[in-house]
Symmetry: C2
Subunit: 123 residues, 2 copies
């Protein structure tokens, strides 16, 4: 109970591997739309965003949320995308985060060795 | 060796607790200067940045780096700051990250129960 009382939220770190939908890893607008869908599905409020297109390939996108932040880095040459979401919202379990992982995994057509870690953070 | 070859870098998650230097948690420019010092000390290249001042207190700052990203969220009412740094740079050990933790801990005058986790990420 003490720890729950002091929760500062959950942080999920995902590494999506073997991605088949390479278009998504190089298309800034399309990828941002997918991330905005994640935010919409979870009622996350995007306060500000910043992005960078690496040359010749690769994207980085950061969303500053009312609830904390979301980050993405794509490595098309490795069929890889790293994704982080940290929110200070209080969840009773990991279900919402696992839904996000599944949603992104489907969009990316990622392989089954993609993985996630969910870290509970405390004040 | 296989895993080292496939390293996508190290991600450090820090929770600074019992912070005495509360001014730093509410002063956007001062806190950004401290974070820029972290980047300078480590030769991280800031490509873009975004920030938000919450009302009445609390700051969020995200730096998009050539090397990935850095994020900060302050909770002055809890004497707390969460800090993340993810870089795709290849380090042979955790020394540089532990130096960052110590540097920030000193600047914040954080308590000894502040903690960090260093997560190795892979393609």
């Amino acid at each position: 109970m003490f720890q729950e009382y002091n929760s500062s939220g959950k942080h999920m770190i995902c590494d999506f591997k073997g991605i088949q939908n390479l278009d998504l890893l190089n298309n800034l607008d399309e990828l941002k739309n997918v991330l905005k869908e994640v935010c919409k599905n979870n009622d996350f409020n995007i306060l500000n965003e910043v992005e960078y297109k690496f040359h010749p390939i690769g994207l980085s996108i950061l969303f500053l949320l009312s609830e904390s932040h979301l980050s993405v880095h794509t490595f098309p040459e490795k069929n890889h995308m790293s994704f982080d979401i940290y929110t200070c919202r209080q969840y009773s379990d990991n279900a919402a985060y696992m839904e996000m992982f599944k949603f992104l995994s489907n969009k990316l057509q990622a392989s089954l060795d993609s993985n996630y870690k969910i870290i509970d953070r405390y004040f």
